[in-house]
């Protein structure tokens, strides 16, 4: 039996990012806050909704490309596998999944996997054929028999192993995240049918349309808004940190402080963006905190948030104009 000491995920409404953060902090591959990780990995900039505002909204994205990129943007190397549980090859992959997750734990690193939500594998016991995992609800580890891996109430199985981290210039990581933020704002996730989902700027339109029509999933909407409130708060904190401005909402990480002065001088545009994200975050906070708000009022809040986020993106665009121009029509392609 092997159980990694001190590896626990704390669920704070950031699907995937909560799990990734737990693995990285435990292994010592990252020292910053979740907000920093949300920003640098670009996961916090993703804004996708199911048009009926169902609870899947925050995890409806291309895990394969986005979770690979989350690692890649920050210099982390990873391997991942995924598929439908109804594929005939699934038993082969399940065997591989268990072997790779165990090997990762033997190397001292947890593994992210999908169990109806993103959770963290923190140990295993071959004699009992079970994985131990943390789902972030409390400090308890839960058991999952090997043969039930992938049995999670959804059609998907997925896992990601983080293998290492190469040194990268933090300034370059932050700048790339801003380029990707623009990409996320403007681009639909190709893996999702547009009739069912909306991304980035278009997600605001979809929310407003759903609220106006009244045809949406009440519980799902509450869940979705709370999740994105957490991500928008991250963006406010992240951009404030990057601008060298001390965010009032949260403590700025030590790493940011080191470069704060340098950034404050170099990146006045980020301060402008941070102010806008602060406004977006406050609006989302209100939406999430008052689920009883009439839809007509919520629509106004979302419209204001959309406007503020549009301004944030405009400020980031001004900052990365030269690189963006060099990428022509394809701002996401590094």
């Amino acid at each position: 039996m092997v159980v990694l000491e001190g590896l626990r995920m704390r669920s704070e409404r950031r699907p995937y990012t909560d799990a990734l953060h737990a693995v990285l902090i435990h292994r010592g591959w990252f020292r910053g806050s979740k907000a920093m990780l949300s920003g640098m990995t670009v996961t916090g900039f993703r804004f996708t909704v199911n048009r009926r505002l169902t609870a899947e909204s925050a995890t409806a994205y291309n895990w394969h490309s986005e979770n690979f990129l989350a690692a890649d943007f920050t210099g982390m190397t990873s391997s991942q596998h995924m598929g439908f549980v109804f594929q005939p090859t699934w038993p082969l992959y399940r065997e591989l999944a268990i072997a790779e997750i165990k090997a990762s734990i033997d190397r001292g690193a947890g593994a992210v996997f999908w169990h109806g939500e993103f959770v963290v594998a923190a140990g295993y016991d071959d004699e009992r054929s079970v994985l131990y995992y943390s789902d972030g609800r409390d400090s308890q580890l839960r058991e999952l028999p090997y043969e039930r891996f992938g049995n999670n109430g959804t059609p998907y199985w997925y896992y990601q192993i983080i293998e290492g981290r190469i040194p990268m210039d933090e300034h370059a990581i932050v700048k790339e995240s801003f380029l990707q933020a623009i990409f996320k704002w403007e681009t639909h996730d190709l893996a999702l049918p547009e009739r069912g989902y909306a991304c980035g700027r278009a997600a605001y339109d979809a929310i407003v349309t759903a609220l106006r029509s009244g045809d949406y999933d009440r519980d799902g909407a509450r869940e979705t808004f709370a999740t994105y409130a957490a991500f928008k708060r991250d963006l406010a904190e992240y951009t404030a940190g990057a601008a060298g401005v001390r965010s009032q909402a949260a403590a700025v990480t030590r790493e940011v402080d080191e470069h704060a002065a340098q950034r404050a001088g170099a990146w006045p545009e980020v301060a402008a963006a941070a102010e806008c994200y602060g406004e977006v975050s406050r609006l989302f906070e209100r939406i999430a905190a008052e689920p009883g708000l009439p839809d007509a009022e919520r629509i106004l809040l979302f419209e204001a948030a959309r406007q503020a986020e549009e301004q944030a993106i405009a400020a980031l665009k001004a900052l990365v104009r030269e690189t963006a121009d060099n990428r022509y029509h394809d701002i996401g392609l590094r």
Binding site: S65, F86, E163, R334
Partner: protein, 319 residues
């Protein structure tokens, strides 16, 4: 172990280079039994058809993101597959390169060849730790091509790519054939596989790109020849594939005859006779459209959870 040389792998360029490589690796490893056209049909590789607007030779292998394009086909024949690849200019490449050198060697140690982008696709069938080299078949020459460990993944394109294979499960023929028809439909219906770029058209649109270029005369001649010979070869693979599985459903037999008619249109084709070629391509597009309607009719008779479930992977914009 300081080296491995798998002698039973024989890669020969006939079909698309990926299908040629796949057939060589899986046949030698005992994970697939049968002729290449069956593999090409069952994996959907034969149906992939993409054309750059200027008929550049890269068209033939530019049918999308290789990871997402190849995996469903390999999965359909019940074989576990692992791949890696990306842009060699990205900072993490060095790590993935070293990692790949390790897993490529491990695969060879286990007797399984590895598909590798040279370009085009070839098969790594040996390594030598002393000289720090891989032996690779490109399918044209019986001599090996050599790639140094240090140069693994580096080539004149921006991309690196390698794929290996694990165990296999037996999948009923009907299941594989039905899915292959659906893979074909998906390729036929998807105009752009390399978004946000739109200079390469796929499926139905590939025909238009091809005829437009031939009409304008502004195209790469070597590329045009390569595209057309690959196109003609693939249609013949499809014809033979459908003939072999025609007993399963009447739609397959009928679609097979459409491809039979289509093959006849290109006997002795030549770029010099552009008008004739354009005419043949227009007829071919109509015949293939008819075959796809038959596939669609067949597909609709059975549930299709793979496409009725929104996936969490698949097509993405390269970043």
């Amino acid at each position: 172990m300081s080296g491995v040389y798998l002698k039973d792998i024989r890669m020969k360029r006939e079909s698309k280079s990926f299908a040629d490589s796949l057939h060589a690796v899986l046949t030698a490893a005992g994970m697939f039994e049968g002729p290449k056209y069956m593999l090409s049909g069952l994996t959907g590789m034969a149906f992939k058809f993409s054309v750059h607007e200027r008929l550049l030779p890269l068209s033939v292998s530019a049918y999308g993101n290789w990871g997402d394009e190849h995996s469903p086909g390999v999965d359909n024949i019940g074989v576990l597959t692992i791949w890696d690849g990306g842009r060699s200019r990205h900072p993490t490449f060095r790590f993935y390169q070293q990692d790949a050198i390790r897993w490529v060697k491990r695969s060879l140690d286990e007797g399984v060849g590895v598909i590798y982008w040279l370009p085009e696709f070839g098969v790594i069938h040996g390594y030598d730790d002393e000289d720090r080299i891989f032996y690779i078949q490109d399918g044209y020459s019986s001599d090996d091509r050599i790639v140094l460990y240090d140069n693994f993944g580096l080539n004149f394109t921006e991309f690196w790519y390698a794929r290996t294979f694990g165990g296999a499960v037996r999948v009923p023929l009907e299941t594989m054939v039905l899915e292959s028809v659906r893979l074909a439909l998906h390729d036929w219906d998807t105009p752009y596989r390399t978004l946000p770029n739109t200079d390469i058209g796929s499926g139905r649109l590939a025909y238009s790109y091809l005829t437009q270029a031939l009409r304008s005369g502004d195209y790469d001649e070597g590329g045009a020849r390569y595209i057309l010979s690959s196109f003609v070869y693939a249609r013949d693979e499809i014809r033979r594939y459908l003939a072999e599985v025609a007993h399963l459903w009447p739609q397959l037999a009928e679609a097979g005859s459409r491809y039979g008619e289509l093959a006849g249109l290109f006997d002795g084709w030549s770029l010099e006779n552009a008008q004739g070629l354009i005419g043949a391509l227009e007829q071919a597009a109509a015949l293939e459209e008819r075959a796809m309607e038959l596939f669609r009719e067949l597909s609709r008779q059975y549930p299709d959870p793979r496409r009725d479930t929104v996936p969490r992977w698949g097509i993405s914009s390269a970043r």
